[in-house]
């Protein structure tokens, strides 16, 4: 029997240096066969990336080293190799692509130079041979017009293009194993779909194996043959795709599935994993997941579980494994709208335009405008959630800031809040009105002043609006707010850096609630968080909406969150709303081709239902010179001649779209054909 391509045998890679070593990888074993895709799943900080770096022999210096275990490549132990030997393996037999395409290319070298370097080093190609191979590689990763692209610098390429160049570089050495560390996390869903299907095509052609590191269950379901789940530096479950997605055995894997939001869980609170990932610089006794496990028994706390093979295809590190069937989420459930009737409108935005001037030259002459938001209409009902969905760069965040009146000098159009035009307000009137609309940001690390205590942070708005004049009242209110968002009052004298991402997001929510707002603009509040923490925040938002009657403008690109939380959805493309309607209607019967593509691009959790996907070609155009006519026409699979000249009007009523496909039909009532 031939040895597997890669075999990890009880690998332990620690980072030494501080008082205690960080046991980033602490006993990981798995095998990858030739031509197979193995997905390594886990939340941040569980040692996925360190495992990959250990395989590459690139552990962070100083301090990082393999303390125990073996890494066999084709039966040979790589941990014994010298650095010189490893250099011949890296890029040649094993190649790696990284999460952040923006920083993993050298900005001062052309694309051709960077690919050529690999070819010179490992394939000893030179001159014309090298040039033609570079073109061949760029062509194989689907970069249009490679002859010209070869001479371009990384900054001239979009994010998706850069990731393709990275893949081309990785392929240059014709590796037997490609390690992809979160290759699509920084990309939008439609681009993610392009990159993932590119990887699948290349794998079919070259027969290489892929080690895919991801935190996204959907990506794993779409790509992997086998799946390994990591927790706190250890492998806790290893199973074939079908077994894993149908009958996960480890309580942690099961929890991960249940924490995922989807449309069927709308009426319930999401299951959460209590507590946090343990610090890896401690000594463990017993099962590492035991403190957070609901099925734990005495044995779990005292004795570390051993690896059990449940079948040929499934192994688990648990004392009491139970294979449980989990319901895998879907975006649409076929149900139709149960419209609760129109409540009063809280916010009505019409013809909102945010145009940023582009200035050039010594005298800063305005030479053009970035049409970040263009003729946008939105309406939000009292006590409801409107989700604003779209890919990065489409102007979602700008809409939020425009409504908050943070970009007044660039904004035009009417924003009416409770019947009052916000854009007409001036000076002190506006300052007083600000308490009604508050915002929660994406990045819980940069949204709090690191030099202020939690109580000062939460109090700030009250001070600015003179809500509670006496210090005691303010202190009481801070306590009340912290308890409301699930924190304890003894935390108020601490500083932001002492909290985890989820706790920080709670503090941000408390800060926003301090002014008794009526509308919360949530700008991707969960996209920087892990699945289990995301569930906690979503539960909190839902509970606050029920108890306080808040309205949310929920800006996101994550459609499963939309399915779980939103009442209405607005889909944005390049500064305009292309489709808006009640969430069930939009998700079940999407009308606009863009919405349909977006929905189909989301990786499905059920590996058997990967269904037909609509692949969009190309990238989102720049809002400086948007395409004429319908902005979507260069990427639209159903483009017509008219689309190139005119921007379509609204079709439909409660659920409307802007597309000529539906305008032609009688009465404008679009029904999916």
């Amino acid at each position: 029997m031939t040895p597997p391509l890669l075999q990890l045998d009880d690998l332990k890679a620690w980072i030494e240096g501080g008082s205690h070593p960080v046991r980033a990888v602490d006993g990981v074993s798995f095998t990858i066969q030739k031509g197979e895709t193995y997905a390594l799943l886990g939340e941040s900080g569980c040692g996925k990336s360190m495992t990959a770096l250990a395989i590459m022999g690139l552990l962070p210096a100083p301090g990082g080293r393999v303390v125990d275990g073996h890494i066999y490549l084709d039966g040979e132990d790589m941990t014994r190799y010298s650095e010189v030997t490893m250099r011949n393996i890296r890029g040649n037999r094993i190649a790696m692509i990284f999460q952040e395409p923006m920083t993993s290319l050298n900005p001062v070298l052309t694309v051709g130079d960077q690919i050529g370097e690999v070819l010179r080093r490992h394939k000893k190609l030179s001159g014309n041979q090298r040039q033609s191979r570079i073109l061949e590689l760029l062509d194989s990763v689907g970069i249009p017009d490679p002859v010209n692209r070869v001479r371009e610098y990384p900054h001239q390429l979009s994010g998706g293009m850069k990731q393709r160049v990275m893949i081309a570089m990785a392929l240059a050495g014709e590796p037997e194993l490609l390690i992809a560390d979160e290759p699509t996390t920084a990309l939008d869903v439609t681009i993610q779909l392009q990159v993932l299907s590119l990887l699948q095509d290349l794998q079919e052609k070259t027969g290489m194996a892929i080690l895919l590191i991801t935190h996204d269950l959907g990506v794993a379901a779409q790509m992997a043959d086998r799946i390994g789940v990591m927790y706190a530096g250890q492998m806790v479950e290893d199973a074939g795709r079908h077994l894993f997605f149908n009958q996960p055995a480890h309580p942690y894997s099961q929890k991960l599935f249940r924490a995922l939001p989807d449309i069927n869980k709308r009426s319930e609170t999401l299951e959460i994993i209590s507590g946090t990932v343990p610090s890896l610089s401690q000594d463990f006794s017993g099962c590492r997941f035991a403190p957070r496990c609901e099925q734990k028994q005495d044995l779990c706390i005292t004795q570390e579980p051993v690896w059990r093979e449940l079948s040929d295809l499934q192994g688990v590190k648990c004392h009491y494994p139970q294979q449980k069937t989990v319901s895998v989420g879907t975006l649409s459930n076929g149900a139709t709208t149960n419209n609760t009737g129109t409540d009063g409108l809280l916010l009505e935005v019409s013809n909102l335009r945010v145009h940023f001037p582009v200035q050039r030259g010594v005298f800063r002459r305005t030479v053009g405008y970035v049409h970040a938001v263009d003729d946008l209409d939105l309406s939000l009902k009292k006590g409801k959630t409107l989700a604003l969905v779209g890919e990065s760069g489409c102007g979602k965040t700008t809409v939020g800031k425009g409504i908050l009146q943070l970009l007044r000098e660039y904004t035009s159009g009417d924003i009416s809040f409770e019947g009052q035009s916000l854009d007409q307000l001036k000076g002190e009137q506006l300052r007083k009105r600000r308490s009604d609309i508050q915002i929660i940001f994406q990045d819980p690390y940069s949204s709090m002043n690191p030099r202020m205590r939690i109580s000062d942070i939460v109090e700030e708005g009250m001070l600015a609006q003179d809500l509670y004049p006496s210090p005691d009242e303010r202190a009481d209110r801070v306590d009340e707010l912290l308890e409301q968002v699930g924190l304890t009052t003894d935390m108020k004298c601490r500083y932001p850096h002492e909290f985890s991402g989820g706790q920080r997001q709670r503090i941000c929510i408390a800060r926003a609630l301090a002014l008794n707002p009526k509308l919360l603009v949530c700008d991707e509040p969960t996209s920087a968080l892990d699945v289990s923490v995301q569930a906690q925040i979503l539960n909190l938002l839902k509970q606050l909406q029920d108890s306080l009657g808040l309205s949310y403008l929920f800006i996101t690109h994550n459609l499963s969150v939309v399915a779980y939380l939103a009442h209405d959805v607005a889909v944005m493309y390049l500064g305009r709303i292309v489709e808006q309607g009640p969430v069930e209607d939009v998700l079940n019967q999407p009308m606009h081709p863009y919405t349909r593509a977006l929905l189909s691009a989301v990786p499905k959790l059920d590996p058997d239902r990967q269904g037909e996907v609509i692949r969009l070609e190309g990238d989102i155009p720049s809002p400086i010179n948007a395409p004429s006519g319908c902005h979507f026409h260069p990427r639209c699979p159903e483009v017509m001649a008219r689309c190139r000249q005119q921007y379509p009007g609204m079709t439909g009523d409660e659920h409307y779209t802007r597309c000529f496909l539906y305008e032609q039909q009688t009465g404008g009532q679009g029904i999916k054909t």
């Binding site: 506006l430 915002i439 940001f441 949204s447 708005g461």
Partner: protein
């Protein structure tokens, strides 16, 4: 609770301020001195008060204290800090000025000496009153140059005459000098060690009393070097300083440790006096520059638009004028003003002081641009951050946003730049004085010492000790400041502490 905390941190600086007040105001009255407050003295004491307040404020805030603890945990930084404090102490002693009453005067209004003394002058009186005729080498007993002396039996001989004070206690310098110096070295060593031991024991006693713990629990970890702050290193640095002081006390009164200059003045005394000049230039200049840089930089970065344009225009213009030219022009015009208004100044030291102050100002005005540019960039970055956006959506006013959110988050840059600039400014003073546009020629400063020694370098044999003294003092101060600022930068710079 918050109010109680505020009371707590404000007590310490208030007590310190009281002490300074007594030193400056009550002591002169009690000892019948006429105190004289020079401009630079006033600024130095204001600066001192600000430092006191800042220190206690920082001690009350955990997140502000943390990086400072990291600074002082490094042995090198601790030793440098002790050394710097010794320099600062000398500078402070030299900043308390008064005129002594003339002795042996009749009743009636008290007459005061024209000569302005400082506390340092009084302490080092034994050193600086011993004025020789001209140059003499360190530890010399004879003058550096031959003179003709009349022999008792008529006629004259060219000899190196004995010094009036240096080694005057020796009957036969040839044979006794070496033993005498060695003896003084040994005795000052033992005296130093004893004094140091008493100091250390006292410190440990007070420390253990305040912590309410056994003396041995406090003393042993310090002696073994196991404390979190390197107190043993600090103690050893203090030992070195105490030993040097003891040696200067023992040998400095009997000999000229660093020799004498052209007019026979003790070079050690000059070097000690120069410390104040160096510190004044290094600190006051920063004080002048800081408000400009901070206000303009933050305003430009935060408000942008036309405010930014105007401020950028100002600092681009200013930084394109060669600063030496600007300094020379300003100093020359101040000099003209001083000589045209002699009546405004009671004493020559006040005239010199005005010129020193003017130098600080003009150095400050020419050096704020780089910090301003840095702060503008940082404010520019910060204003887009989400907590500023959140504050705006609360309706917080601009001034409040700047003072609560922007300024505290750029202070680390200010601190790093200020500490790094200090040594540069001390060196700049030396260069400017050497060129002739620095401090007044009558002010003791390292630059003036070097300038004076310049011509004598060509002599045979060479007069090297003035230069040597200025060089070593400056070297020690600048090295200590640089080592300290390295530690400060490492602790405060977010780019370096991210790992």
């Amino acid at each position: 609770m918050a109010r109680g905390l505020a009371n707590n941190w404000i007590m310490m600086p208030l007590a310190s301020l009281g002490t300074i007040f007594i030193l400056l105001y009550v002591v002169p009255i009690v000892f019948a001195l006429q105190s004289l407050y020079l401009w630079t003295d006033i600024f130095i004491f204001i600066l001192m008060a600000m430092v006191f307040f800042l220190v206690s404020y920082i001690r009350s805030k955990e997140h502000l204290l943390r990086p400072w603890k990291a600074v002082f945990r490094r042995k090198m930084a601790m030793a440098s800090a002790v050394l710097l404090s010794a320099f600062i102490l000398v500078g402070m002693l030299d900043s308390i000025h008064f005129r002594l009453p003339l002795s042996g005067q009749a009743a009636g209004p008290v007459q005061y000496s024209v000569e302005v003394s400082s506390l340092l002058d009084v302490i080092t009186r034994d050193i600086h009153v011993n004025v020789e005729k001209t140059y003499s080498a360190p530890f010399a007993t004879h003058l550096f140059s031959k003179e003709s002396i009349d022999l008792p039996g008529g006629g004259s001989r060219r000899v190196y005459p004995r010094l009036k004070y240096g080694g005057a206690h020796l009957a036969d310098p040839e044979t006794e000098k070496q033993d005498d110096i060695l003896f003084k070295l040994f005795s000052s060593f033992w005296q130093g060690v004893v004094i140091w031991g008493v100091l250390v024991a006292l410190f440990m006693l007070v420390y253990s009393f305040r912590k309410g713990r056994k003396f041995s629990d406090i003393a042993l970890p310090i002696l073994k070097g196991q404390t979190s702050l390197p107190l043993r290193t600090a103690g050893l640095t203090v030992l070195v300083i105490v030993l040097m002081i003891m040696f200067v006390i023992n040998a400095g009164t009997a000999y000229h440790v660093f020799g004498t200059d052209k007019v026979g003045q003790d070079v050690l005394y000059q070097s000690l006096k120069s410390i104040r000049t160096g510190l004044v230039i290094g600190t006051l200049t920063t004080m002048v520059m800081l408000p400009f840089a901070l206000m303009m930089g933050v305003a430009a970065g935060y408000y942008q638009g036309w405010v930014d344009d105007v401020i950028q225009y100002i600092y681009t213009t200013l930084s394109s004028i060669p600063s030496v030219l600007l300094i020379a022009a300003a100093i020359l015009s101040i000099q003209v003003y001083i000589s045209n208004h002699q009546e405004l100044f009671g004493t020559s030291i006040e005239r010199a002081d005005l010129r020193l102050l003017a130098l600080c100002f003009i150095l400050g005005i020419t050096s704020w641009t780089s910090l301003c540019r840095l702060l503008r960039g940082e404010a520019f970055k910060l204003r887009e951050l989400e907590y500023i956006q959140a504050a705006k959506s609360f309706g917080v006013r601009h001034v409040k946003i700047i003072s609560r959110h922007i300024v505290p988050n750029i202070m680390h840059i200010v601190l790093i730049v200020v500490v790094l600039d200090f040594s540069g400014l001390v060196l700049a003073e030396a260069v400017l004085s050497y060129v002739g546009v620095g401090v007044d020629p009558s002010t003791d400063s390292w630059g003036n010492m070097i300038n004076g020694a310049r011509l004598e370098m060509a002599r045979e044999p060479m007069v090297w000790w003035s230069l040597m003294a200025a060089f070593s003092f400056m070297f020690i101060l600048v090295l200590a400041a640089n080592l300290f600022s390295d530690a400060v930068r490492d602790a405060f710079d977010p780019h370096q502490s991210s790992a």
